[in-house]
Every structure is written in C-alpha cells, then in structure tokens.
Symmetry: none
Subunit: 195 residues, 4 copies
DNA sequence: CATGAATGAGCTTTCATTCAT
DNA sequence: GATGAATGAAAGCTCATTCAT
C-alpha cells in the first residue's frame, strides 16, 4: 500500500527525470512520461497537480541529492586544494553519472514562480555551501570565489554533456585543471630568464 | 523602398529580440511580437518563414554583434592582464547593456537543428578567439583556460541579470576579480608568519 | 465501454460522411463536423490523426459497403441481362439512398497519397468485379465493356444528384435503359421499309 | 496597347489553365499562377476580381473551345456511325491534347454559384448538341443516349489522364469501341450453334 | 497599368487537464 | 486509486486580397 504508493511516486519521478532531461520541459508531453512509465496520464495527476509541479518535484529531488552528496563529501576539513578537489569532483561526477538525462535540463519553465524561487534557493544554498568551505580555508571574498568556481564547473559540465566520447579521464583532467587554476591562476609557459 | 524594407526588418528583429529575451522562446507568441512591433502577424512571415527562423536570426545578429565587438576590442596586443580585462569587460558590458532583454535567452528551441548548429559554432568561435588571445600571452592549455574564463564570466552575467539593483560598480568589481583570479588564483587571507 | 467507443467512432464517421458529402473536402471544416456530431474538435483527433485520415476512412467505409453489396447481389449466376440489371440497380440504388450526402464527394484532397491509392484500388476492384461478371456472360473485351457500363452509370448517378425531384421511377427507367443499350446498342426509330 | 493587354490576358488564362489543371482549384495558389506567368500577384487582380473568377474564365474558355470544335466537326450530316465517331473523336482528342493539364480539373470550387451555373449550362449544351445529332440520325430517347455516350467518353477520358503511356492507338481503339457499343450493344463471343 | 509588402480572418492541430467509470 | 476518452483554449501558419508607390 504505502510502499506501492511510494513505488509509483518514485517511478514517476524517475521517468520524468529522464524524459524532461532528454527533451526539456517544453518539448516533453505528459503523455510521454505516462507512456514511458507504463501508467495512465490521469495517474500523473494523482501525484502532481500540474506539469510544472512535476517538473519542480523532479528538480527538487535532483538538487537535494546533489547537495546531500556535496555536504557529505566536504563535511570533513581539509586543505584548500583538498576541498576544491572534493567540490569539483562531486559536481562533475554527479552530472557525469546522469549525463544521458541532463542534456536539456537547462530548459525550465519560466512562468512558474515556485520553481523559480526554488532554483534561486538552490543556487544560493550551493553557493553558500561552497563559499563557507572556501572561507574555512582562508579564502577572501568567498562568495565571488565560490560563484567563479561553480562557473568553471558548469562549463566543464557542458563539456560532459556535449562532447562525444567524453570519458572519466577527461573528467579527471578537468578537475585537476580547475583546482590548479584556483590555486595559482593561469599556467604560463616557462619563460627564459624569468620568474 | 529599400530603406522601408530594411526598416521593417530591423523593427522585427529588434522587437523579437526584446520579446524573446523577456519571455523566452516557448512563452513568446508570434502575435505578441507582431503586436509589439505594431504590424500584422502575417508580415512576420514575409520576413521569416517560421518562429524558429526568426529566433535564429535574432540570435545570429546578437552573436555577430558580440563577436565583432570583442574582435575589435582585443585586436591590439597587450599583456595577459590587459587582454583578460578586455575580454571580461566586453562580455559583461555587452550583456549589461541588454540586460533587460536577455533574461530568458537561455531558453532556446531544442528541436531546431540549424539553430543548434549555430549555437555550437558561436560557442566554438568565441572559445577559440579567447583561446588564441590567451595563447598569444603565453598561457598553456589555452582551450581549457578560455572555457574556464568564459564560465566565470557567465556566472557573473547571471549576477547582472538576476541581481536587483546591479550597477556599473558591481560590474567593474567582477571584472577586476575575474582578472585577478586568473592571474594569481584564489586570494588568501594574509596568514601570520607566512608569505 | 467498447460499445461507447464504437458508438462514437460511428457517430464521427456518419457525421463526416454527411458533411464531407454535402460541402466537399476543402469546404468542410473540422469544427463543423465536431459541432454537427455534438462533440469537441479534439475528440476527432482521438479517432483520426488528420482531416485527410478522416476523409479516407469515410471513403473507405463507403466503398467497402458498396462493393460488399454488389458482390452479394451479383454472386449468383444469371444471364447478361440479369447481371447488367443487378449491377446498374445496385449502383444507382446505392447512391440514390445517400443522394443527399454525396453531392460533393467528387471533391477529394489530391495531395493525399494514401487516399489516391485507395481511390485507384477501389475503381480497379469495382471495374474488375464487373468485368468478371460480364466475361462470365460471354462478353468480349470485358474490361472496356465494364468501364463503359460504369461510365453510363456515373452520368445517371449525376442525374440522381443534380435533378430536382428525381424519383424511383426515374431510377428504374435509367436502369432499364442502360441494360437495353448494352444489349442491343442504340434504339433507332423503326424506319419504313428497313430491317 | 490593346494587343499588349490581350497578350497578358491570354498569358494569365494559359498559365492558370496549366496550374489549375495540374493541382486543382484548392491546391493552386494565386501566387503560383503569378510566378509561373512571370507577373506580380496584384496584376492578376487587374484582370480577374477573384480566384473564382479566374477559374471560371479559364473553364469557360475551355468549354467554348471545346463546343466550337465539336460544332464544327459535326455540322455536316452523316450516318449514326459517322456522327458517333466524330463526337467521340472530338471529345477524346481534345482532352488527349491537354492531358498534361487536365488531371485535376475535376476539382472545382463548389461555393461559387456563377461557376456552378456555368458548369450546368455547359453540360446541358453539350448534352443537347449531342442529343440533336443523334436525333437527326433517328435515335430514340436522344437525351438518354447522349448522356450515356458522354458517360462512356468520360471514363475513357479518365483512362487518358490516368494511364501511364496512353497513346494515340489506345485512343483510336476506344473511339471504335464506343461507336461499336452504341451501334450494336455488347460484343459477345460467337457461341457454337448460335447466331 | 504593374507591383509586392502588408494584412488578418480563419484554418488545422496540439496537449494539459478533467472526470465518469 | 487508476484509467483514458473527452475537452477546448490557444497556438502557428496560410493565402486571397488590398493599395500605396
């Protein structure tokens, strides 16, 4: 009963995650989600009152999973290098895992106020979590540093989603690169007679 | 004649830029663009054969303007610091200018193959332009550095679009911050007995 | 359930037959069919994926009914005169029955490949059925005779559709006339001193 | 001047005949006719006040040509066989000539009252002309005989339009067949011990 | 006369949502 | 709870027709 209810809820969330992530919010039809999940269209409306609600729920679960994972990983103290590595690694590995279904998650409905609030809240939480970690390592202007670091991670996430044949080595290379960049700035060519 | 035709074309492109930028592709109605421009719906279809075509044209013009501006700005040689500053300044000032109408430009139709090709091409061009500038300044792994720098600029662009009361001083602060970050890495607190 | 589903399907087919038959394909609006049937426009699209599909289905049913009737009527052997009478009688009575709704059935969409195939197939079937009946009665060149006979029936069908006050007697007269024509050729005035 | 006007008028009529005949009334766009004729869309409206008017004019000219030709051919007296042959030959050769552009002429707009009147009038004229010719040859019930003969010619006209590789020999065969049919009725197999 | 940019009524079709079963 | 037939508002797009140049 209760587990059956829960099972169907998870089935819907899982299916919706895949379909929304593959086609984007606007190109996804409720009927597709229902078909893919093997249930009736009407059933979706027993669990979520609208397409927007469902999308929001899917997004929320994804964000919660993500933040939980990051909090777990970075809860233990470490050097700046260690912490940056943990953040980058968590971020990129997470989206690497679900890369097949995240291609079009940047298409979100923009009229939905509740979702917009949630998105802002997530970004704020994520940002502050990273900022606090950086601050603990002695970084000044932790907010700007945090945002910048996430910006770098986001473009690397796009590499994951868009690059044909992107593999784990590529992932590791980018993690190391991002950490190195934030430790020492751009890596320059060794120049004769300088330094 | 020719000017009249050109005028209406520009009127449509300008209006479409505003409406698409304010509401996103999917939430924009062709009738809204027509109404806003003070012309008939059918007229839009004299100039563009579909909503997607119009969106693509708007996007292309925006990208071309942007790249032209950047190429002009960064054509003269300079130190790494100068070049990073020029790039950041061009990027952020450009979107600061049009901030009112770019809020939802990240909503693009994802079924349109031609547009997708164009988007990729633009990103590639932009990336390579920046990479070549960095390489000229002696930066190793110019592609990754370029992508990272653009990632940072993108999150700052989001700050422009989303932060209530974001002003020119905030803009300048972020430009300086980004340049400093890429020159030297994270700025740490001066620690007793160190440095 | 099943009966309800079937009922609505038949309701749509019946209504579409009337409206298409009265106004022709191009002058018929899907909304008219829906209104006439007392259902919503969208419901039509549950049963038929397009206007063309609906038209094709209507046409197919009509043709199938017609051929079934003819096959039933002419299955028993008979003299040439009897068979010609059966064919003519079936053809003309069939369209006499539905004369109110067949006025404009000769307006069919011409871009629809599937429908065109079906139309040809129907004509071929009809023709061959008649040809085989004639051949069994010892008629030479059965294909040409069959086509000719159907040509005569078609102009008489037009009489049914277009003649104000066309009644059953007129029908019978034409049936007899067609049979007589194909038995003996034109009926000439008895000429003095001849034959 | 006058000739120039006439030239353009004929250009339009000729072009419209081809396009309407190839695609049918409803699938023909006024812009197609204009493009095909190498003139502007607006120019069509200097000569014809509407699409229906143009179609009607095209049809009228076709019918007038046809009737003139038939009247000329069958003006001289002759035996029934000769007259039937002249009618069939005129009818089928006429449509054989324009077979490329008559494929979809049976698609006519059905809301246009004037056109409908004209169509009926043409059919009536044609029918009566043939009926009078037959009557002059001593045929009883000339109206029904005329209609029947035209019915046969119409299905053979369809053969012309629809049969791949239909040639002049096929034409002659059908003319002879139709005449023979109306002279003597169906041609039967010679049966042993009969006749 | 000739043009073709502009119009806008009106079409087919879609799809989130409802609700009787 | 589950279903899916039914809904109908709303969208993109077409194209005959007009009229200023």
């Amino acid at each position: 009963m209760s587990s059956a209810h829960g099972d169907k809820l998870y089935l819907i969330l899982d299916t919706a995650f895949k379909v929304f992530g593959t086609k984007g919010f606007y190109e996804t039809r409720m009927s597709e989600i229902a078909d893919e999940a093997g249930i009736a269209k009407g059933t979706l409306y027993h669990y979520f009152s609208s397409k927007e609600e469902l999308f929001t729920a899917v997004t929320k679960r994804d964000h919660d999973n993500f933040l939980a994972r990051l909090e777990h990983t970075a809860s233990q103290p470490g050097s700046l290098e260690e912490q940056l590595t943990r953040i980058a690694s968590t971020h990129l590995h997470y989206y690497y895992q679900v890369r097949q279904y995240t291609r079009l998650f940047f298409h979100v409905p923009n009229n939905d106020h509740k979702l917009m609030l949630h998105m802002r809240q997530f970004l704020k939480q994520y940002n502050e979590l990273v900022a606090s970690l950086l601050q603990a390592c002695g970084v000044l202007q932790p907010q700007l540093h945090a945002r910048s670091f996430l910006g770098v991670l986001e473009v690397f996430k796009m590499d994951i989603l868009m690059t044909e044949g992107f593999g784990e080595e590529d992932l590791q290379q980018r993690i190391d690169f991002a950490v190195q960049l934030f430790r020492h700035g751009c890596t320059l060519q060794p120049q004769a007679g300088m330094e």
